[in-house]
């Protein structure tokens, strides 16, 4: 510990209490020195982004709630929801989140580049399983005429589910980017910080998904 602090800088630490997290989310911890301290500001900024994204999603939920009866005689919730597929998508997304979490823990405790990359790739694979199932559901909806142009309800449906799917697609691309950065730069301080933030983003998408299954898919079983 002493060698670490003397190597980085001794002045930057006085306000840091090792027992308290610097920011919400997994903290790298004081053992990572400057990478840990610098995370405080950027992770706070990332939380501001996540919370503004949450407001965006909340508005899509609100629009969906107001459009729930605006089916204009077209297919409603029960006609397009396949609960078996939704259950599999939920499982894939939750498992992906767990595996990503284990990857960030492996990164924090220096368990080696191979383990971190392996867990990130497993998380990516599960995310792609989710996307594949969701795209299949969207194609089925389009086949039975439940396209966004059909009714106000379907516009709101495609917008909300599609926005979440788009987030997962972007997250998957970012996992590929992170794996590439680990390959090129190694687990450098800034790469670690990016992976930490991508983890927050990935876990955040699960929270949105819980809202989506509760508001959209499960009530479809009531009809």
């Amino acid at each position: 510990m002493t060698s670490m602090t003397s190597m980085t800088s001794t002045v930057a630490d006085p306000g840091v209490d090792a027992s308290r997290p610097l920011h919400p989310g997994l903290n790298l911890g004081p053992a990572h020195g400057a990478a840990h301290r610098d995370a405080e500001m950027v992770v706070f900024g990332f939380w501001v982004f996540l919370m503004s994204d949450l407001v965006t999603f909340a508005m899509f939920f609100a629009i969906y709630a107001t459009a729930i009866d605006a089916t204009a005689g077209g297919p409603g919730n029960a006609a397009i929801t396949d609960l078996a597929s939704i259950a599999m998508q939920t499982g894939a997304l939750l498992a992906s989140s767990l595996v990503f979490g284990l990857g960030t823990v492996a990164m924090k405790y220096n368990e080696g580049r191979a383990k971190v990359v392996g867990l990130l790739l497993a998380s990516l694979a599960l995310g792609l399983v989710f996307l594949g199932l969701e795209i299949r559901d969207f194609m089925h909806a389009a086949e039975i005429g439940a396209v966004p142009m059909r009714s106000g309800y379907l516009s709101a449906y495609w917008a909300l589910v599609g926005l979440h799917g788009l987030h997962v697609a972007v997250g998957s691309l970012l996992i590929v980017a992170m794996v590439a950065q680990i390959g090129v730069f190694g687990l450098r301080a800034d790469v670690k910080s990016r992976i930490l933030r991508l983890g927050l983003y990935w876990h955040f998408l699960d929270v949105i998904w819980v809202g989506i299954i509760t508001v959209i898919f499960l009530p479809g079983a009531f009809a």
Partner: protein
């Protein structure tokens, strides 16, 4: 540098176990609560109204589990800015959702 860093990072085994446990318990809790939600919707032992209430309660519980175990958000240990960010976000969401549902819902009713 690297050998020193390695020994330093090997410390904190207890914290390591605690953090892994947090992810495993979070995952288990999320799976169980999702299963409850599906059962409440499909089975509906006490009628649709109770099932709706159950869905809402399970969703809130699961969101708390996600925030606590995956996003490590613990309201008692946050710094002031983090807490203010969260509270402000929830305030904005409450105002905007309530306003949207109220006004657009009323508009929808009148046009039906």
């Amino acid at each position: 540098m690297s050998t020193n860093t390695d020994t330093v990072l090997k410390l904190g085994e207890a914290e390591h176990r605690r953090e892994l446990r947090s992810y495993y318990w979070g995952f288990a809790g999320a799976v169980v609560l999702t299963a409850f939600s599906f059962l409440a919707a499909l089975w509906q032992p006490f009628g649709p109204f109770v099932a709706y209430c159950g869905l809402g309660a399970f969703a809130v519980a699961q969101i708390i589990v996600h925030f606590r175990c995956f996003l490590h958000l613990d309201l008692t240990r946050q710094k002031r800015e983090d807490l203010q960010l969260l509270l402000f976000t929830f305030l904005i969401i409450a105002i905007m959702i309530a306003g949207t549902v109220w006004i657009l819902g009323s508009l929808m009713d009148r046009m039906m």
